[in-house]
Symmetry: C2
Subunit: 252 residues, 2 copies
């Protein structure tokens, strides 16, 4: 059994707790959150504390706290045994300032409170200060997911930027698309099959190969017609992305 203590009260910690409870080789011994009244997330039966003095012994201590607080919070963990890891995509391992061994346990997924997650498919990106700790962290990750990768801090930083494009920015395209539909009394449902098939295509096709549309064809007539119909912000985004697409596929 791998003993784990979780720190935090956000969605990452909530879902990690749920995933760990499903695994049969993990003993989730405790949950630390600063505010003892912040229990609305925790319908799970886990021992909780809001006192750092009461932290129990564990093999792995997982900080699921805000990026900005990781460095400072880690200085408060003054024990030297066990492995302390954070779960952030954009913070380097060295920002952990505690005497214990350090590592990173980064689930590459967005977690929404009420979304049912398929934990098995979530990619976990692991890093450890000492190579001998990697096995432990791998066993932990593999007990909840089948997609486990060793990724160093520099790669993780790039991966985080790639994830911003793949997730946040594609989602903003969906938002703009829905705004256009709403404004013209068109159901956004019409676009959902297209969106799903665009995502599913990546399983067997590179995004470059899958690209279609007026910008890919450098169809200036349609592009200008579209630009005329957009609001200023939408127009700027349409214009920049169409230019980038035209440039991308002219190069090839």
């Amino acid at each position: 059994m791998i003993k784990v203590v979780l720190f935090g009260s956000g969605n990452v910690v909530y879902h990690l707790a749920k995933a760990f409870r499903l695994a049969n080789n993990i003993d989730l011994v405790q949950l630390y959150r600063r505010d003892p009244n912040n229990d609305h997330l925790f319908d799970l039966k886990i021992k909780k504390t809001s006192s750092l003095k009461e932290i129990k012994k564990a093999d792995v201590y997982i900080l699921g706290i805000n990026d900005d607080h990781i460095a400072e919070f880690s200085t408060k963990l003054q024990f030297s045994e066990g492995l302390v890891v954070h779960t952030s995509g954009s913070i380097s391992m060295n920002q952990l300032k505690c005497p214990a061994h350090k590592g990173v346990f980064y689930p590459l997924q967005t977690f929404s409170k009420n979304q049912k997650m398929e934990y098995k498919t979530i990619p976990f990106c692991l890093e450890t200060e000492f190579s001998k700790d990697m096995n432990l962290l791998k066993t932990l990750a593999e007990s909840i997911s089948k997609n486990v990768y060793e990724i160093n801090s520099q790669q993780r930083e790039k991966l985080h930027i790639a994830a911003v494009f793949a997730n946040n920015y594609s989602n903003h395209m969906f938002k703009i698309s829905k705004d256009i539909c709403d404004e013209h009394q068109i159901s956004f449902d019409l676009l959902k099959p297209l969106i799903l098939s665009t995502a599913n295509k990546l399983d067997f096709m590179d995004p470059a190969e899958a690209q279609t549309g007026p910008a890919k064809r450098n169809d200036q007539k349609i592009i200008l017609k579209h630009l005329e119909q957009l609001h200023s912000d939408q127009k700027e985004i349409y214009s920049i992305i169409s230019k980038s697409i035209i440039k991308t596929y002219q190069k090839d």
Copy 2:
């Protein structure tokens, strides 16, 4: 039985032909394509012609040809019986210049030659010049899909712009994301579960509600750190979209 003649040799016509062959109330009587040697797409057994004089009688004539050629090509269809429809998202119905009744039969999906399509989920956007022709077109569309909508030319034009954002531009975000991965020896596979879950979320959550990430949080520290690491084109896109996201969620 609804008698159909298809015109064109692209992916839309290819997949419509396949879908119609699966329906039991459609008689696909003929396929017209200009170039008789352009038969590599047509593994299906359909009667073909490349002579406009040989066009057979049908209930519906479907032009799956290039946007730029629709108006001109339609002048060549000098029969006056039956319903002539085009399949374009960005051309108005009135660009059809033939004596027969006119309409639009627009499948809101991108068609790749080798992709297996789930025809049943493809949204079909229909328009007819005369309301009495709508029933026929609906019956035709409903024989291959369960998502059939009446959409007028003005709405269809907006819908096409919405589809550019939802499909082409989100796919370009995937392309940039993959470029970043490739450059740093990171497998793009790591991002696929995130992309799929972003698309799947739209089934039960608005894109605005689903948005996460540094721009949503207006986390300038991370945004600047990301910008420093991007190439000039990527940087411009990152910057414009992050600004748009910040503006969107500050307004709320």
